[in-house]
Structure formats: C-alpha cells, structure tokens
C-alpha cells in the first residue's frame, strides 16, 4: 500500500516537475476509462477509493475518476464534452436527469446493450425494484447502472417527544398522528415541531408513490413524452393545505428549497424532519439529543390497502459514446460495472456512506454483518423501498427537465405559504410544468 502511494506521488511530482500536463504515464499500456462524478467530499473521496479498489483488482483497465462539480454541473460538463466529441466513458447522473439522458439517444449506450455487446452480465433482478425501475426502460431493460441511491424518511427528536409527553419509541405513522404530535410539541414550547427537507421530493413525489397516486399521466412519464402533471389532484391539494394550515398555527416551518432545511434537525431546532436518508450520518455526528428514524407517514383516508414503497433519489452511472471509442474501451467499462455490481462492494458502500443498498444481496450482507443491530433504524430506508412490489406510480418519475419542474413546484409552494390559495398554486404549477414538458417533447421528437 505504502509503496504504491509513494510511487504515485513521486510520479505526479515528477510529471509536474517535467512540465507534463497529465501524469498518466504509468497507465499507458492499460485501457483508460474516464469517469466523471458529482460527489463532493467526503463521499467523492470514498467513491474514488472504490475506483482504486477496482484498479488494484486487475491490471488491464485504469479508471480515472474526476470530480465535475454538483450534479447539474457534472451534467453540463458531460454535455459540453459530448458536443466537442470528447465525452467521458462514464458519467454519474442524478435521478432527475434520467429522462434527459434517455432522450439523448446515440449519446448514451444503454447498460443492457453494453453488457450484451461485451458478453458480461449484470442481473437486473439482483437489484431492488424501486432502484432498478427508476433506471430501466418500460420493458424492464437496464439503461444505467444504479449506484448511490437514497430515499426520503422521517427523523424525530426523542428528547423533545419525551418533553411533550409523547412516546419516544413510537414515531407517528400517519399524518393525523404527526399533526397531533406537532401540536403536543408546540404546547411543550418547541418553536419548530416539524419541517421538511426536499419539499418537492418528500411532499409531492414520495407522497404520490406511497399513496399509489400518479404524479403525472402516462405512468409518471414512463409511457411517453406526452405526459402531463397530475399534482393538482385532491390528495396533493389536501396535503399542501395541511402544510399551509400547520405553518399558520406554528406546527410546521418551511425551511427553504432542496436540502437547505437539513441543518434544522441536528441543531435541535426542529423536532421532526422529513429528509434524505443520507442525512443520518450528519445527525449522528452533530445531534446532542436522542433521536430515531421512521418511514414517512401516510393519510389513512387517502390510501387503498397498505402504504406503498417510496421512490429513490441519488444517482446512477451512464455510459456515454464518442466518435473514436473502441470496443476495447466499452469492454473495460463493462468490467468496471461488473465489479461495482458485486454485493460486497454494494454493502460496503452502503455501510460507509449511509446510501441505501441497491441489491438484495448487499442488504442481506449488511444484515449478516450485524450493521443494523449496531445502528438501529439504519434499515428504515431499505425497508421503506422494498415493503411492496412496485406499481406504475412507485417505479419513479420519467419526466423531461424534472429539475426545472421541481423548481416550479417549489416556487408555487412558496407562494401558497405566502397566502396564495392552494388550489390556484397547484393549478399554476401544473400549467407551468406542462409547458416545460411540452418543450422537452418538442426538442426531443425525432
């Protein structure tokens, strides 16, 4: 270990001293695979450590990981590079960019096709359906390799629950229970009983999936580019109205867009938060109180049967094409992917980072190692993702320019909190979102 690192550093230093631009001299005989990712530290470093593990496991392929900024910036970099005929072999793309990548046609080589061409196998059945479904075509063929996935769950402050006379070992399972708990918390003098991170992902996308209610027509867009938003349906109106009412009576606090509200929970400010399962490690590090994790609550009167599985967030690995790319290079990519698909890699990544396991075997492996006994509640995300078979409303979203639609929903939501009627806000969101979808349809029609 030590010698290799010293060697690497010495080579880098030499290369720099000699004025060379890139010190890949050692890798000359190997097939080089460029791999662009959007994970900041410490996750980015951990991902690069996984890559190192692969590079050390064989001597034919050298994967070069490179950080390209946030997910949208990574996407932009990959697009610019593709247009210049210079695309990386692999790019990490966030889940909401899936439709854009799928519409890219010849710019992307679907994983199932890559595997077929190179004679390798990655079994889609090995993956948790809520994960593989998001990155599959309608007929179940794998388009991208799932890797870092998260989902949305509920964290709550057990000390605050105790203070408010609530049972700290029983998290609210339904929305009426959550509202009751929030009232009790407020009565006990807690300034912010409840908040939500990722307002769109948690309170619209997950809400729809859990209640088996469409977010958009055409099976949330899986059926075609002509999908239309459905988020002004009664479930969503009732839900947003509840949040607005709670905000007025001081039992809910709007904490900002995307993951801006994250800090409100570990600081002890808010007693309940709906947030990415990935927030867990930050809470573990910063919180000075006892806390618990639980699945997202549901509306008993809006649900048929049991609550369905939640949907994922995070990112997947896409294979990109370039004019001069050789079969040997694709072969190298498929070897890297086969390595990543191994359960022990999946389990280790899950346990190191707090992302959910993406394969059933990875989940089992983490269980067998006693990870969940040592970290109570760490299996909540995986359980929420696997609790029911997926339906067309819980497979995920396949909508063009979803990041833009998320922003529109957040804008209209903010207007509702400022007093615009909820129905009007959601109608406007649908109307503006549909314009985005139509533009995407038009730009991507062959």
């Amino acid at each position: 270990m030590l010698t290799r690192r010293t060697l690497g550093l010495a080579t880098a230093a030499l290369a720099l001293a000699a004025g060379l631009s890139s010190g890949a001299a050692l890798a000359q005989q190997k097939t080089v695979v460029e791999f662009w990712h959007g994970l900041p530290q410490p996750l980015g470093g951990q991902l690069e450590e996984v890559v190192k593990g692969f590079n050390a496991s064989q001597d034919k392929v050298q994967v070069n990981p490179s950080f390209k900024g946030s997910y949208p910036e990574t996407m932009q970099a990959a697009i610019a590079a593709f247009r210049a005929g210079n695309a990386p072999h692999i790019v990490q793309m966030f889940e909401v960019g899936t439709a854009t990548m799928l519409a890219a046609g010849p710019a992307v080589k679907p994983v199932h096709q890559l595997m077929q061409e190179t004679g390798a196998t990655v079994d889609p059945k090995a993956y948790i359906p809520a994960v593989s479904g998001y990155y599959s075509s309608k007929d179940g063929k794998m388009m991208a390799l799932p890797f870092n996935s998260s989902t949305n769950i509920m964290f709550y402050n057990k000390d605050a629950f105790q203070k408010a006379g609530l049972d700290p070992n029983k998290a609210p399972a339904t929305w009426p229970e959550l509202i009751g708990a929030a009232k009790a918390l407020k009565a006990a003098g807690i300034a912010c009983p409840f908040t939500t991170s990722w307002p769109t992902w948690a309170q619209f996308e997950q809400l729809g999936a859990i209640h088996d209610t469409p977010f958009a027509s055409q099976a949330n867009g899986f059926g075609g580019l002509n999908a239309e938003l459905k988020i002004n349906a009664p479930l969503y109106v009732k839900h947003v109205q509840t949040l607005v009412d709670m905000q007025k009576e001081g039992t809910f606090r709007y904490g900002g867009r995307d993951n801006k509200p994250d800090g409100l929970f570990p600081s002890g400010e808010c007693a309940i938060i709906h947030a990415s399962s990935g927030l867990r490690s930050r809470i573990a590090k910063e919180a000075t109180f006892a806390w618990g994790a639980a699945p997202l609550p549901y509306w008993p009167d809006q649900i048929k049967g049991e609550p369905k599985n939640g949907i994922i967030g995070g990112a997947a690995f896409w294979v990109m094409t370039a004019p001069k790319r050789t079969p040997a290079e694709y072969k190298a990519v498929s070897e890297f992917f086969t390595y990543l698909a191994k359960p022990e890699i999946d389990a280790k990544w899950h346990m190191d980072t707090g992302y959910v396991p993406v394969t059933f075997k990875g989940f089992e492996l983490a269980k067998a190692e006693g990870f969940y006994e040592k970290n109570p509640g760490a299996d909540v995300p995986a359980k929420q993702l696997t609790r029911t078979p997926t339906t067309e409303n819980t497979m995920g979203l396949r909508l063009g320019n979803l990041p833009e639609i998320r922003n529109i929903i957040q804008e209209e939501l903010e207007k509702a909190f400022q007093g615009q009627p909820v129905q009007q806000s959601l109608d406007t969101a649908v109307q503006r979102g549909n314009v985005v979808l139509r533009n995407f349809e038009r730009a991507n029609k062959n």
Binding site: Q41, L43, K68, E73, R83, S281, K285
Partner: protein, 288 residues
C-alpha cells in the same frame, strides 16, 4: 474656555472617520472572522449553527489535518501543495497576461488615431457582456478543438482577454496631461519610448491595484477549471474547497473547510499586503 471647547468639538469630529471605518471593518471583515473562528472549532459545533464568537481549542488539529489529510483511510484527496501550485500558476498567468495585453491595447486606443479604432475598442468591450455561463459550451468546444483540455494553456488563455482592464487603462491614459506627450515628442521620443519611460511608471498604482484584483480573480476561478481539467494533478485549491462543501447529501467537515479556506486565502492575502505599498502609500510617503 472657548478654545478648549473648540478643541473638544474638533476631537469629536475627528472621531467620526474612525467610527465609520471601524464599523466598515467590522461589517466587511465579519465573514473572514467567522471563517477564522470556525477553523478553531469541531465540525459538529459549526454544523449545529451555534458557532461561538470566540476561538475554540481545535485549531491545531484542524490545520494539521487540512494540510496533511491527503491520505484518509476511506477517501482520497489531491495533496494541498499540488493544488496550491496549480492555483498559483493559474492566478499568475491570468493576472500578468491580462495586464500585459490590456495595457498594450488601451495604449493603442488612447494614444493613436487609426481606422476602426473605436470598432476595436467596442469589440473588446462587448466581450464583457456575454455571460460565461451561456458561451461555456461553445468555448469548451473551441478549447477542445485546439487540444488544450487539461493543460495550463487551456486553463488560462481563454480567461486572459479583459474588457475591464482595458477600460481601466483607457480611463487612466485619458488623464495623462497632453503637455507630457508634447514634451516627449519635442524630445524626440517615439511611441515605444514614451510608453516605457512615461506611461508605464505612471501606471504603477493602477497596475498594482489591478494585479491584486486579477490575481484573486484567477485564484478564485471555479466553473472554468472544473470544466477544463480532468486529472487530479491539475486540480486547484478552490475546486478542492468546493469539493468539500458540495451539495450536502453528507455531513460536511466544516472545521476542515474553514481551515482549508484560511490556508487558501494566504497567497491572495500575501499579494494584497505585498502589492498594497505600491498603490496605498502610508502616512510616511505622503509627507513628501
């Protein structure tokens, strides 16, 4: 009585500038202060948001970790010294390059009369108008076609054209008294001579001010280096910091971020302190 009263009033008035300046310093240095303080606490305290306003006891740990943590157990980082070297090369090349080509073109525009003079000036000036975010894809393509991806040339040359610096020098050149030019011509000095002997020395304060600004501009570049470099040994310190901040799906090591930020600020601050005496003469100089 009257005399002492006046002196007292004068003193009060003399205090006003100090009060204004102190308030200014407090406001403008506050974020720097927060960074410094942050770099002396542990990350959990900062992350919770109740950062005290007095230094904590973690300074040594944080700085030694920020400086040497290029070999974490589970993660890999680019060594800080590699990033500092890259940033230094980039900032110097951009600052010196911009100053050199801008002073020449401003000299041409201000001191010569020739066909299409203002057309050239406006062409240079308009480049300032198109946001880099919009032309980033075509610009990237040009750089890729020229084979400059992942090189210092690709990193710096596209950023070297400067409307700002050209405008600044033009503004300054217009204030150089005509008598000076006349005198030079009578002495038989040509345009090159005049530039070297008169214009350049006179521009000293402006060059120094501009160097400070442009060095920091180059040092703090983010979007462009991110796009144009692929290999870890071309990474700059600001990218290193951004990598640490990220988009927040994980816990940030705020203490290390703040410590690295302070370290990353040292070269620009050194430039400020060193260059300051060129354009900000102290009390001593002004007695002359």
């Amino acid at each position: 009585m009257t005399a002492s009263h006046t002196t007292g009033g004068r003193r009060l008035i003399d205090l006003v500038p100090h009060i204004v300046l102190i308030v200014g310093v407090l406001i403008f240095a506050f974020p720097i202060y927060v960074t410094l303080i942050g770099s002396t606490w542990d990350s959990a305290t900062i992350g919770r948001g109740n950062l005290p306003l007095i230094p904590g006891g973690e300074a040594f740990n944080n700085y030694s970790q920020a400086w040497s943590e290029s070999h974490g157990a589970r993660a890999s980082y680019t060594p800080v010294r590699v990033m500092v070297l890259n940033s230094l090369v980039m900032a110097l090349a951009i600052a010196l390059g911009k100053i050199a080509i801008s002073i020449l073109s401003a000299y041409a525009v201000a001191f010569f009369r020739f066909p299409f003079r203002m057309a050239f000036f406006w062409m240079i000036f308009i480049t300032l108008m198109l946001p880099v975010e919009v032309r980033i894809i075509p610009t990237y393509k040009v750089v890729a076609d020229l084979g400059l991806i992942d090189s210092y040339a690709g990193l710096t040359i596209p950023l070297i054209a400067s409307a700002t610096a050209t405008l600044l020098f033009r503004q300054f050149f217009l204030t150089i008294p005509d008598e000076l030019v006349e005198a030079a011509r009578i002495d038989g000095a040509g345009a090159v001579r005049f530039f070297l002997d008169v214009v350049l020395p006179l521009s000293k304060t402006n060059i120094a001010a501009l160097f400070v600004i442009l060095f920091i501009y180059g040092w703090n570049q983010y979007l462009w280096p991110l796009l144009i470099t692929n290999s870890a040994d071309m990474e700059t310190i600001v990218i290193g910091i951004t990598k640490m901040i990220g988009t927040g799906e994980a816990a940030n090591d705020w203490n290390l971020i703040m410590a690295t930020t302070v370290l990353a600020m040292l070269p620009p601050v050194a430039v400020v302190v060193f260059m300051q005496r060129w354009f900000v003469k102290g009390l001593v100089d002004s007695e002359k």
